[in-house]
Assembly symmetry: C3
Homo-oligomer: 257 residues x 3
């Protein structure tokens, strides 16, 4: 089990790299970075970028991760196992990302964010500071999670995208808004108010249209949501049980709205 480091990479002192991992050409690992085993860091990355805003000088990246070229990750963040990033992704300080998360090309996670497990953030998504994104969430291209109710201000309020929610392309979520468990936000919506659980909401401003369970696949005629009924690639086999369990907890803690 060896580590494969490109001769042109720059590895600062005190960096820890797990067995069987590889570091690409022209990539820089800053001090305080710890990369788990079996991970692959592409070319031109800068990992562990120092900033006075970092609550701690460490950056921990899990096992079996794949960072594509030109990924930037700041010190002070912690990323789980099986993480995959696209090209040019930027993840700033004090961000906690769970296991099995993917973040696409040109996405920008601005810092002080929390992302659960099995969440997939597509390309060119802007996750404003203090955003909270649950587990099994999908966020599609050009979605912006804002955070400033009186721009510019220092009174930032992050968005909360709850577990299993889906936000379609080009939607904007206003500061402090909650997108409910298992809900679907239609493309190009402007979400100004909290969205209840398991509904389709869309428009500018977004309005609740119907329960997601009433959305049907117009080819098969079957219900299309919750979405794991038709899409399970890369998820645990018992995803429907996980859904039921998380749903129950959510309703107990937060009610249905």
């Amino acid at each position: 089990m060896k580590i494969n480091i490109s001769p042109s990479a720059i590895i600062e002192s005190g960096v820890e790299i797990g067995e069987n991992s590889s570091i690409g050409a022209f990539t820089i690992l800053r001090k305080g970075t710890k990369v788990g085993a079996n991970s692959e860091i592409g070319s031109f990355c800068e990992i562990g970028t120092a900033t006075p805003l970092a609550e701690n000088p460490q950056l921990v990246i899990g096992e079996n991760c794949k960072l594509r070229s030109r990924t930037t990750i700041y010190a002070g963040s912690r990323i789980g196992n099986n993480f995959i990033s696209g090209h040019q992704v930027v993840i700033r300080e004090n961000t906690l990302i769970g296991d099995d998360v993917r973040v696409g090309t040109f996405s920008d996670i601005q810092g002080d964010c929390k992302i659960g497990n099995f969440t997939r953030i597509h390309s060119s998504v802007h996750i404003g500071k203090y955003s909270k994104v649950g587990s099994f969430v999908w966020i599609f291209p050009y979605v912006v999670l804002t955070n400033d109710p009186l721009p510019p201000s220092n009174n930032l309020k992050g968005v909360w995208i709850q577990d299993f929610a889906v936000v379609a392309a080009m939607s904007t979520i206003l500061p402090g808004v909650i997108v409910g468990f298992g809900s679907l936000i239609g493309a190009k919506s402007l979400v100004k108010q909290d969205v209840p659980i398991e509904v389709l909401a869309l428009g500018s401003p977004a309005r609740t249209i119907k329960p997601v369970q009433k959305i049907r696949n117009n080819v098969t005629g079957l219900p299309a949501y919750p979405w794991f009924q038709h899409y399970t690639e890369g998820y645990p086999n018992d995803i429907s049980l996980i859904y039921a369990k998380l749903r129950k907890t959510f309703i107990k803690d937060h009610g249905q709205t």
Copy 2:
């Protein structure tokens, strides 16, 4: 006729570079890459990135191309002559791009796409997987071509932007939608339904407003579309004949809607 390769560039074995071409500093050419003559590849590019999704391990880039810094192009694609990319452009696998195409800074072509000749894609455009973009097309900044009717799913349906169509900034085209030959989509539109040929459509959802021929240049008073009546920079001299010919074929094959 010599080839000019920066001493810091990394050229893997089996790469072919045409006469008179140049490779910038810190640029990586992966095996299987073939670059035509008189082409200029800027700094920090990664060209020929391997992926198991590539239908073949080759990447062919034509003659007289200019790839700006930090361009990423995957294996399995084929790009014609006179191609120009902006900075940080990403083009994934199995994408066929014709001659004389330009793709601007921060644009992302997600793979399995087809783009014709003389098409110009501006900055920060998202071309979803399976998109089909014709010839002489213009796509302006922050346009998103989506592909998933029931997100997330595996049943992706690419958009088709037909020849000579223009999509103005910040518009979103929903999955499987066809934007008609020579049509113009106004800025910030949400296009949910097919747009017929040679019309102006705009709004959320986009509606057909009028034939493009009725749009006038309010300075000259002359008809402004088809657009080559007022803009011909870099196009063949006989662009109006090409238009007439392609239009005829289109109507024969697809009708006027």
Copy 3:
């Protein structure tokens, strides 16, 4: 006072670097570049990129600047003191930027633009060619300043964002439009017509809602605009006097609409 240049950086002949400045790993400074004292240029930058479009072959960057990794700045531009860029920022030729300006990650300034002092452009903002952005302006993520009234054409008309104006996330400003002094454009607006001074405008198309002075902070109950009443971080102590003075000049020169 020494200059700290990474051994992997490429500094072309005739580059001038001020005292106490640092140049990051794998960064390229092209000839004609002049960097002021106490400035920090991160990794993977390309600074002073040549282009035939540059009106002059020089690039001047002021003192005490911080360019984050992968910043690209073309020859022919001039950037003041205390400038900060995010990652992957692109600034093209013939652009004049004042002092104390910040431009966020993935923002793209397309060239021939003018930006005043103390202006903050957030992430993923597209500043089209010929845009004019005043002083003390705020532009939030995914805002697009367009420039082509009859796309594609050569008759480009830049947008003008006047001093102290704020443009919230995901708004699109149409070609030639003026956003008035101290005004606020709501998120996800499409601004088709000039916006008068000191008003809130929003929607698609944007309409004037009320004077900004009537927007209240719903926590404190105090007026929230002009915004420096609640946000002053990094601004001169006499910002309210500057506002009053610039406002007076503006009204004298341009009237209130």
